[in-house]
Amino acid sequence: MLNIEKNSDGHKTTIRLIGRMQAEHLPALQALIKESRPRIALDLEQLTLVDVEAVRFLGGCRRNGMALLNCSPYIREWIAKEQKSGK
């Protein structure tokens, strides 16, 4: 189960991800990002669990300039590992 909360102050949009994020949640999240302002940050403080598709997505977000806030060490490590294996 993944809850998505969006908060915007007019200059910056913060998207808070809460719960477990898996492949099936990605289309909705992509749509939300698309309709938001350019300066977007993903707050991962309450993101408890991710699968490999979610990790790749988060890695892609970071490469596209989005900030990943409060990222768990294992997710950060996993993103790095995925990027390394992808090169």
Binding site: A23, E24, T48, L49, W78
Partner: protein, 813 residues
Amino acid sequence: MPSDSQQVDTQQDRGERNPAPTLGAPLQELAIATGADDGQPKLLSDEQELRRIVDLIPQTIVVLKPDGKAIYANRVTLEYTGLSLDEVRADSFRDRVFHPEDVQRLRGARQKGLSGTVPFENEQRALGKNGKYRWFLIRYNPLLDERGNVLRWYATGTDVQDRKQTETLHAAEKRTLEMIADGASLKDVLNYLCASIDVQVAPSVTTVFLMDADGKHLVLTGGPRVPGQWISAVSPRPVTHNCGLCGKAAFSKRRVIVADVATDPGWPDEYRELALRNGIRAAWSEPILTKDNEVLGTFALYSHESRVPTDGDLALIEGAGHIARIAIERQRSQEALRSAFEEILNSEAKLRQEERELRQLIDFLPQHVLVLDKDGTLLQVNKTMLDYKGLTLEEMKGKGTRERINRDVHPDDLERVQGERSAGLSRGVPFETEKRLLGKDGQFRWFLFRYNPVLNEPGDIVRWYATATDIEDRKQAEDRMRNEAVALREDIVHSSMFEEIVGSSKGMRNIQAQISRVAPTDSTVLIQGETGTGKELIARAIHNRSKRAHRAFICVNCAAIPSSLIASELFGHEKGAFTGALQRRLGRFESADGGTIFLDEVGELPQETQISLLRVLQEREFERVGGSRSIHVDVRVLAATNRDLNAAVDEGGFRQDLFYRLNVFPIHVPPLRDRTDDIPLLVGYLVDRYAKKAGKRIRSVSKQTLQLFQSYSWPGNVRELQNVIERAVIVCDSETLRVDASWFTRTAPISKANRPFSADLATREKAMIENALRETKGVISGVGGAAAKLGLPRQTLESKIRKLRINRHRFKA
């Protein structure tokens, strides 16, 4: 008519005609004696006596020649007309005395009568010496000779003025009533009345004033011969004691007489000159009163001469006023009736309109609306229900209530519905019931029926109004919610298994690819793997990525259900199917209709249930336990097992045909020892999770610990790793997580004969908690509590105490 006119009593019966006298009779002598123009007969000795007698007769008597020329008139005639006998004998007598209208009207009839030999009569107005006409009945009696020739005509006149007046009033009353009945306006009726009276009183004129709606003014309504100048001056007229004749009569409710307009102080000065100029010299007004003494108006007469009204005048206006009252009241009654009738018609039309609108409203309500009699027999339904059923009202009613219910209600609901319905109707208070109703498309939909009784004044039930609301969507949502609740419960139970998704090793990538391929299809999938490898997670991933993702995902652990109950759990049962089956219960397959059912540990299914499952896989049909009706479902089956099903088939523990049906798309989940690349990530995730839960800050995992984890065989797979890390986090007192190698050496090598690691771990955990509770004498919270000693949040410790079934109270002593 003049008040001083001579009243002549009628002494003859109006209905009799005088027999024609013949010569030799006493009157013959009189005729001969009075036939002065001849001058031949010798005067009789008693002539004077006879003349005196004739003169005393209170009737006018004129003797005429056979051609109608007057030759004699008695004293009454002469006194009334004021003429001399010579003037009577003159040729101009008739034109001079009788009303021109009557002369013209009666000319032919009179000539005809005079040319005959039989008596005849007519009525005509004769002018008196006072200048007024009075009505006379004139009877003509012939005097015949022996051969029957007319010698003389005796014309006797009887004053019938009063009778004519009464007749006029009667005729006016009759005509006015006829006019009212014919729908004439009140103005026309009153104008006719005045015109009728005017004939009698000419040249005087009459008027009718009616009280205005405000009750303060009189308005001229009848009076066709009243001068226009006068009308415009006096209408409307205030009802006061000092504002003219009619206003005063209406105000005082008494007759008012002004004998001389020129001098009467009661006549308003401002109207005096105008009245005189219009020929009004005297006037009298009669108030028209209802029986309740309410003023309707006035009837007035304007006389062309100054005089006091005679009794006849007063009787006339009183009679005319009476007729006017009848006319006004009748007219008002008719108007009231018409108004009431129109009001009734309008009310009825309005009611009909409202009924139509209400009917339309009811017809367009989304709910079904039914009207039943007190016994529950159908009387009416709205269009919505007829449309749903595709029937007419008569077809809806059918042959009776029982047949209708049997026809319309789902067989499974029939017994319950009939019981609830008859109980509700007999209680006589509002009640409701849910049932599936057959539609014209042959499909059943769920409806909520609400019944409300309609009571009469004594409180007896006369009708039942019922509404039926389509709750099919709600029912489906409830089913989904129920299924989701089941799924959620299992989700909570197995939430610890989701960490298997962490990792991107080759094995995991292969699994992901397989899920992507098989998910969009409806194929049955058999997921195999050791315990704790996340088989359910794979099943959920397949469901979530399938077209059934928005429907139920029902998970059944076949190994966790007693074999005697597994069939009932999967396929449901009918009421009374076995001891304790108190009501019908839907099985998991029915709950999963439209969605996915995940049969975990499918290898543990008993043989007889395997047959039923095979039928579901082949035909998508099954029967409830104790039932005989086949139930069709659309369910995707995902199965999982940690057993070697091939071996089970060989050993005869599992049906081969079922195995082939299940093994359409096999997925093998690798054990954790085959994906050691994922262990650092999994460790990172689990440390993060349990450190947060314990409120600890753990920044790293020691290198030795990680090597230990990667070298261990993990027979319990991820679930075992999770338990080890949870324990390590609990005992960790620094920012680096470390695990003692002894934790693994004691349990390794793992074999089926040995005790499972997880069980050992739980035993150790229980011992630690019990020690802490012993030290704190059962106190959990606070600075010196067991939670603080163990470095755990109070809630976590309480949870563990419950989970490990520790009786904390025994440490309190």
